[in-house]
């Protein structure tokens, strides 16, 4: 049983006292930066990288990995409590999670997220241990044409994130894609829509868009009716999920884990798609799709599981091939190099203790996270009792500091203002912000892969349908568009009629 030997080696490495300790430090830091708006895992890993130079290589990598997946846990907390997603995946969690918090069920939402993440993390660790090398090979068959089709599919799927009119959701997605084009063009270096500002060459920062469209817009909405409405949050009903909740989250967690594990392997943006593909699936197969967006616990459990599973399987290309799938992993490649380990396919054979130790540490990290997060839920929920007059200045100030600290770029702070006002007006007009956010994240991938596929095929657009994986994905995308838009129109007609009666 080679696998058992390997796992034994992994756990004997990961359970060394300093490794457990730094795994804990990593997940704790990850949770902390995930909770704070603005500062993300990439910035944290970048800041802590030099500190790890003096560690043993495996200890350093265990801690850095811990920050990465710990931040995925922490990010959902802010999304649920104050509707402020720090990453695109958390934007999905915010939809139903924050709605649940408003109804006084923040505890249940946080618990569903934590338990879902733990199950997903455990399963994904097994996937990593059992099937990492063959999965990495599958991922390599994805070329630009396949990624274009995958991203297009993802964009269409994100229509389901809105509960309102599909036409508006579609327009918001396209608008997000459009904002994603700001910055230096990858192919020619031409700066686009930057108004001569060099600070905009790198594009608009995601955090600015998220803080503006979700955070600021939400605060303005809440300040509208100050005189008539005192508390934003209903009375906290129960801290833990009810029996009914527990029954409802089993399916979403398992499906989300499967989806996330599969999509996470793809280095060209697969893990970005995981959480909202899961949301779309849950909404579609649910018997109560009308509850989605109004506090459906499935809409928290599924995406959170998918997100955490994907966060873990996205280490597969890095560990088996030395190819980073995420900026945090690019930094980890730097950590490999500094420790004299050449990242590449040989790590598995030349450094088995490191490879298996890191995998085992991920499961330990997940245990630590669940132990850390479940008791914290009570404290987080209490945070909702902070009077709004204290809470909203805190959100604005911390968001401004966090966003500024990313690149020490004042433009990122001004962008919050722009997107806050734009988001506020659009939300008032019945356009929901989540689809825009996903369009913004996926747009650059869409353009990049479209143009790259066309260069490689010599301008022959038929590659998208002649390459089998791409063709299948496109067909699924078209089917998704049809089934999303058609029933929505029919349903809307029905509601119009019922309202008129």
């Amino acid at each position: 049983m080679e696998l058992l030997d390997n796992l034994a080696l992994g756990f004997s490495t990961a359970l060394l006292i300093q490794n457990v300790l730094y795994c804990f430090v990593g997940v704790l830091l990850g949770t902390a930066v995930g909770v704070l708006p603005g500062i993300g895992p990439t910035a944290t890993v970048a800041m802590l990288l030099p500190i790890t130079f003096s560690f043993e290589p495996v200890t350093a990598l265990i801690m850095l990995a811990g920050i990465y997946y710990g931040a995925q846990y922490g990010g959902s907390t802010t999304a649920i409590l104050i509707n402020l997603p720090g990453e695109s995946s958390a934007a999905v969690t915010a939809l139903d999670g924050h709605e649940m918090a408003r109804q006084g069920r923040a505890g249940a939402a946080l618990a569903a997220a934590a338990v879902g993440s733990f199950v997903a993390g455990t399963v994904a660790t097994v996937v990593l241990a059992v099937a990492a090398p063959p999965l990495a090979r599958v991922a390599l068959t994805f070329g630009p044409a396949e990624y274009f089709s995958l991203v297009l599919f993802g964009l269409i799927v994100s229509i389901t994130l809105a509960r309102g009119a599909p036409l508006k959701a579609l327009a918001m997605i396209a608008l997000g894609v459009l904002f994603g084009t700001v910055g230096q063009d990858l192919y020619t270096g031409t700066p686009r829509f930057v108004f001569g500002q060099r600070e905009l060459y790198g594009g608009i920062d995601f955090v600015s868009v998220a803080v503006g469209m979700f955070g600021v817009a939400e605060i303005l909405r809440n300040l509208e009716n100050e005189h008539t409405r005192t508390a934003i949050v209903g009375k906290v009903r129960n801290l833990w999920p009810t029996r009914e909740d527990r029954r409802r989250i089993v399916g979403p967690i398992l499906r989300g884990t499967g989806l996330g594990s599969a999509l996470g392997v793809l280095p060209g943006g697969g893990h970005v798609l995981a959480s909202f593909t899961s949301y779309a699936v849950e909404k579609r197969i649910s018997k109560r799709p009308q509850e989605f967006g109004r506090g459906a616990i499935e809409g928290v459990a599924g995406p959170e599981s998918a997100n955490n599973a994907a966060a873990q399987t996205s280490f597969i290309p890095l560990l088996t091939l030395g190819l980073p799938a995420h900026p945090v992993m690019a930094l980890m490649v730097g950590a490999f190099i500094v420790h004299g380990i050449t990242p590449g396919p040989n790590v598995i054979t030349e450094e088995p203790a490191l490879f298996w130790g890191l995998i085992a540490s991920m499961w330990i990290g997940n245990v630590l996270l669940v132990l850390l997060n479940l008791p914290l839920i009570g404290i987080w929920v209490r945070m909702l009792r902070i009077p709004y007059q204290v809470l909203f200045p805190m959100i604005i100030l911390f968001a401004a500091i966090g966003t500024y600290s990313l690149e020490f770029n004042a433009f990122d702070v001004y962008a919050i203002v722009f997107f806050g006002i734009l988001g506020y007006i659009l939300i008032k007009c019945g356009c929901e912000p989540a689809p825009l956010l996903l369009g913004f994240v996926l747009g650059p991938l869409l353009e990049e892969n479209l143009r790259r596929a066309l260069i490689i095929s010599r301008g022959d657009a038929s590659v998208f349908v002649t390459r089998p994986i791409s063709a299948v994905l496109l067909a699924v995308a078209v089917a998704a568009l049809v089934i999303t838009v058609l029933p929505a129109i029919r349903r809307r007609r029905e509601t119009v009629f019922t309202e008129e009666e």
Partner: protein, 345 residues
């Protein structure tokens, strides 16, 4: 009464945040204490405060790694703490521009690579002039590059590659890590040397480019040993040559471009330290001496060897040698880039 309890709740929550942040502080400062803050006896005058090293690229990248390697021994020699700060954007021109506008007092130092010599040709309205806005301190290292291809790419040697791409110029794809990246420059030089114009496929950084090369989606590229040596030794990519006059220790079997019959393809990612123009000469001299000391440090030599590179000889870690290199490189790249018709803005 209700208000009081609410405020108490708020206070409690802020206390919790405080605890979490304290934990972060312990992890942060504890580590820094063990690793970074090397403060020794000052030599009178400069330096009297922390020195900031600006890296105009992302943390964890090759340039950042090199900077952090030399920062510690330099700090020990100077007797001041060195803080590394990343200011990425627009091919390193954002960070370079910041340092060009900084006080010329020696407390803001720029680490830049070959991009310093290519930016004037790539960007208009740069906001600074490499030779006039900066005072050179010294060269640091020259990272070799390698020509690599997907493993089932037909040509067997560098000579074959040149013949092959000439015969199939309309079909071959040449990947790079983005406009102005080292891999882009090396690719331009390859096309000039081979006398052929190829279809370039830019990527957002080395990681994705290498992923598609390993996956066989693109044909070949030219990138730093730092990024390619793992894939080369595992046989995931086919390697043709290394672009420096000497072979690389970590890849002893790989011929140089001169040995393989394409001597015009000589390029390395050279790194140097800069301070704003107008910095006092004795400050520049102190920095340069500290750099020399750092480059002679055995730990730095070992760390660089693992990256597939080495410190420059002591006589190159001087303002004079650095200035000569920059002048020569500015002229070279102005021509190569103009010939290729590339413009970033």
């Amino acid at each position: 009464m209700r208000t009081t309890s609410r405020y108490r709740a708020a206070a409690r929550t802020i206390a919790v945040i405080g605890v979490v942040s304290l934990a972060a502080a312990c992890a942060g400062s504890g580590g820094t204490g063990g690793e970074g803050a090397t403060t020794g006896g000052a030599t009178g005058g400069y330096p009297e405060q922390n020195i900031t090293f600006v890296v105009p690229f992302s943390a964890g990248g090759p340039t950042d790694t090199v900077t952090r390697m030399i920062a510690d021994p330099m700090a020990a020699k100077l007797g001041a703490k060195i803080v590394v700060q990343n200011a990425e954007g627009a091919g390193g021109t954002v960070g370079a521009g910041e340092v060009a506008r900084a006080e010329p007092d020696g407390y803001t130092v720029l680490m830049h690579h070959i991009g310093m010599s290519t930016a004037p040709a790539l960007y208009k309205d740069l906001g600074y002039k490499p030779l006039e806005s900066f005072q050179m301190v010294g060269l640091v290292t020259e990272v070799p590059m390698t020509v690599v291809a997907r493993k089932d790419f037909p040509p067997a040697s560098l000579k074959d590659l040149v013949t092959y791409v000439k015969a199939n110029a309309s079909k071959v794809t040449l990947a790079n890590a983005g406009i102005g990246a080292a891999s882009h420059l090396c690719g331009l030089l390859f096309q000039t040397a081979a006398g052929v114009k190829l279809q370039e496929v830019p990527y957002e950084g080395t990681g994705p480019a290498l992923t598609d090369l390993v996956g066989g989606q693109v044909d070949f590229m030219c990138d730093q040993t730092t990024n390619t040596s793992g894939q080369i030794s595992a046989g995931e990519v086919k390697a043709y040559a290394v672009t420096t006059p000497e072979r690389v220790k970590s890849l002893p079997d790989l011929p140089t471009t001169a040995e393989a019959g394409l001597p015009q393809l000589e390029v390395s990612v050279w790194h140097g330290l800069y301070v704003p123009a107008g910095t006092p000469q004795d400050v520049v001299q102190k920095l340069s001496d500290a750099l020399k000391a750092a480059l002679a440090d055995q730990k730095v030599v070992d760390q660089m060897a693992k990256l597939g590179t080495a410190p420059v000889p002591a006589e190159d870690a001087t303002p004079q040698a650095h200035k000569a290199k920059l002048e020569e490189q500015l002229a070279t790249w102005a021509k190569v880039i103009a010939d290729a018709g590339v413009k970033a803005s």
